[in-house]
Amino acid sequence: MRIQKCRKGQIRILEAFFAALLIFSSLFLISAPSTTNNDESNSLYTVGINALLQLDSDGSLSKLIKKKDWNALRDILRQTLPSGIWFNLTILDGQGNQLNDVVISNGGQVSDTIVSVEYLCAASNPSYSIYILHLQLARAD
């Protein structure tokens, strides 16, 4: 009986250690958040929305959309965004119909990690309208 009681205690300790080991090992199973990926996405998002805010600040964004000058819009985005960043812009009207009949992009997709920026643009000209812009961005791998 004495020996059995002694062994029971040891097993409890072993159990406790195994439980601790299990908890500890479970931490490794949780995939660590890839902070670099998050930072990368945040940085791309900031770059994208700042480019659109800059274009919209003087009302030139809505003017270009109204004139349907997609080439000028593509050129301005190409100049505004840093080199090495791929973009693809889709413009919808207030009812969700696509306005741009040509691709507003600077080439083929360069990465699978794409950041999407949604932007609402109100026109400042007397005939009021709202445009919805979807800007997709990716950094070259």
């Binding site: 205690g9 601790a20 908890i23 945040n42």
Partner: protein, 252 residues
Amino acid sequence: MKRKKVDRGKSGQALVITALVILLLVISTFYYLYDIMKARPESSERSLNDYVLMVRLGSMHTLVSSLANVTGGGENQLLVVNLEVWSNKLKEECPYGYCLLNFQPWNFSPYSSGFYIFWGDNGFGISSCLVTFNLTIYGRNLQSTFEYSINVTTSINVQGFYSVGNENLKHVTVVCNVFNEGSPALAQSFNLHYQNGSSWIQVQSYGLTDYGNGTYRITFDAYTSTTPVHVSVKACDTRQIYVQANATCSES
């Protein structure tokens, strides 16, 4: 019996140590999770600031559009209609959950229903629109309220003088200063009239000197028997907002 007491004591020590180890692990787990959660609010806060900036810009463009329309002959109610369209679109496309934009057109003197349009006879004219906004954003672990007001104003100062030519001919020079929100601004076009008796005659051709700083010098010939010469200048700024001022020219 003595041996049994010693065994129990040793077993307790080990359990206490084990409990401490487990406690340490639990604490480290909590710290680890806290560290993960900590990174998220910063990025969402940053994107929230960008979103608010976008809403403010859109609100300003809505006011510019409404003022341009109203000064061009549109109805005053258009401001509320346009702001409702803008507010509804923000609600539909809110990336955080629920975005509510309330607006209140300024109704205190000299503004009425958000507008103050005074095209005076003393050489000064103003077209202005003022609205206060309240933006509330509800989302997961997020509730923010932003209050801001937007004022869009185009004003003009007109001064003129003339010299008498043959018979009813007057050589008129008008100096205009255009302002946007109190700062010198460029004009897109001018439309001028002068008074002859009780009727206003449109100036068909005029000489324009643009000083590039919101100051314009306009010269034209007026055939009028009325003295002194009364002129009316209607300017359209680069935002397509109209403003007008009448002035009495002095003889030089």
